[in-house]
C-alpha cells in the first residue's frame, strides 16, 4: 500500500502522463509518427506514469542509489531519459543523412545519363 496521501502534484502528473500516452497512441493511429520512433517515448511516459502513481518508488530508488535528496533521483531519471531520446535522434538523423546523400548521388548520375541520351537523340 502507498503510505503517502495523494497530493495535487501527483494527480497532475498522473493526468499529464496519461495525456501524453494517449497523444502518442493517437499520433500512431493517424500515422503521424512511426512506431519505431514512438517506442522510446511510450517507454518513458510509462515510467513517468508509474513513478506518479507509486510515489514511494522515488524514495526506494533514492535509498538504493544512496541519493540523500529524493527529487534529485527524479531529475536523474528525467535527464537519463532525455539523453536516450536525443541519442536516438542522432542515430536516426545520421541514417537519414546517409540516405539523402545516396539519393542525391543517384539523382545526379541519372540526370547526366538523361541529358546524354537527349544529346544523342537530337
Amino acid at each position: 500500500m502507498n503510505p503517502y496521501p495523494i497530493s495535487p502534484i501527483q494527480i497532475v502528473s498522473i493526468i499529464f502522463s496519461i495525456f501524453l500516452l494517449v497523444l502518442i497512441a493517437i499520433l500512431i493511429r493517424k500515422k503521424k509518427i512511426r512506431e519505431e520512433y514512438a517506442i522510446l517515448w511510450i517507454l518513458i511516459f510509462l515510467i513517468f506514469l508509474l513513478l506518479s502513481i507509486f510515489r514511494g518508488a522515488i524514495d526506494t530508488i533514492s535509498s538504493l542509489l544512496g541519493i540523500q535528496y529524493q527529487p534529485a533521483s527524479l531529475f536523474l531519471i528525467l535527464i537519463a531519459s532525455l539523453f536516450l531520446l536525443t541519442f536516438h535522434f542522432s542515430l536516426v538523423i545520421s541514417d537519414m543523412k546517409k540516405k539523402i546523400n545516396h539519393l542525391a548521388m543517384t539523382l545526379s548520375i541519372l540526370e547526366e545519363s538523361l541529358s546524354e541520351e537527349e544529346k544523342n537523340s537530337s
Binding site: N101, A104, M105, L107, S108, I109, E111, E112, E116
Partner: protein, 233 residues
C-alpha cells in the same frame, strides 16, 4: 585503359575552365567528369558551355567527400579502369597527372598520392596546416607502419579495386587521410610520388582556418575508431 579524371568543384567559377582545359591538353585520352557540389556561383553555366566533358550536378552541397564519393560511384557504374582526381581550384597540376597513373599501370599500387613534401617544392600549405599534416603523418607511421608524407593531398589516382572499396563506405567529412587507412587495412598498396602544387587560385578551401583544428580532431577520432575497429576484424 579507360581513364576518368574526376574534378570536384564547389564555387570554382574562376578556375574550373583552366583546370578542364589543362586536363584535356595533358590527358587527351581521358574522359573528364566534373562533380559540381551544389555551387551557388556560375560554375554550372560554365560547365554547360564546355563541350566533351561530363558533369554531375549535386542538388545540394555535400562536401568534398560527398563529391568524390559521387565520382567513385559514377566511375564504377560506367566501367572505367583508372581514376585520377584533380581539384577544381587549380592547386593540382594536370601536367603531372600522367606520372600519378604510371604506378597503377605497372600494378605497383592501387592508390597513388601526389605529395608536396617529397621534393618540398612549390606551395607547401600554411604553417598551422603543416603542423596538422605532420601530426597525421606521425600517427600514420605509428599505426600503419608506413610513411605517408602528404596524407591530406587530394591529388590522387585510384585503381578500380581501390575506388570500388572506397565507394562502399566513404568517409564524407575528411576523405584523404581515412582513404589511406581503409585501403591499408584491406591490404592494398599505396605509393607516393613527388608533385608540386600551387596555392589555390580561387574559391574557398573546404577547410577554413577556424575549422582546421575541428577537422584535425575529427580525423584523429575517425582514424583511432577505424583502427581499433578494423584491427578486431
Amino acid at each position: 585503359m579507360k581513364l576518368l579524371v574526376l574534378i570536384p568543384a564547389f564555387n570554382e567559377e574562376n578556375t574550373i575552365s583552366d583546370v578542364i582545359e589543362e586536363t584535356k591538353k595533358n590527358l587527351p585520352e581521358a574522359d573528364i567528369l566534373v562533380v559540381n557540389d551544389g555551387s551557388t556561383d556560375r560554375t554550372k553555366q560554365i560547365l554547360s558551355n564546355h563541350k566533351g566533358i561530363k558533369a554531375l550536378h549535386l542538388p545540394f552541397n555535400m562536401g568534398i567527400g560527398g563529391a568524390i564519393w559521387t565520382g567513385f560511384n559514377f566511375f564504377c557504374k560506367k566501367d572505367y579502369e583508372l581514376l585520377v582526381r584533380i581539384d577544381g581550384d587549380g592547386q593540382h597540376p594536370p601536367a603531372q597527372a600522367r606520372s600519378l597513373i604510371e604506378p597503377l599501370l605497372k600494378k605497383e599500387a592501387d592508390l597513388v598520392i601526389g605529395s608536396r613534401f617529397i621534393k618540398r617544392e612549390g606551395y607547401l600549405s600554411s604553417l598551422h596546416r603543416r603542423g596538422g599534416i605532420k601530426l597525421l603523418n606521425i600517427l600514420t607511421a605509428f599505426l600503419l607502419k608506413k610513411e605517408i608524407t602528404d596524407n591530406t593531398s587530394g591529388f590522387r589516382a585510384y585503381s578500380r579495386r581501390a575506388a570500388n572499396l572506397l565507394r562502399k563506405d566513404y568517409p564524407f567529412d575528411y576523405p584523404e587521410p581515412i582513404e589511406v587507412y581503409l585501403l591499408s587495412q584491406k591490404g592494398l598498396k599505396i605509393k607516393e610520388i613527388p608533385t608540386e602544387m600551387k596555392e589555390r587560385e580561387g574559391g574557398v578551401s573546404s577547410i577554413s582556418l577556424m575549422h582546421s583544428y575541428y577537422y584535425l580532431i575529427k580525423v584523429l577520432l575517425t582514424i583511432l575508431v577505424n583502427f581499433l575497429y578494423g584491427g578486431k576484424k
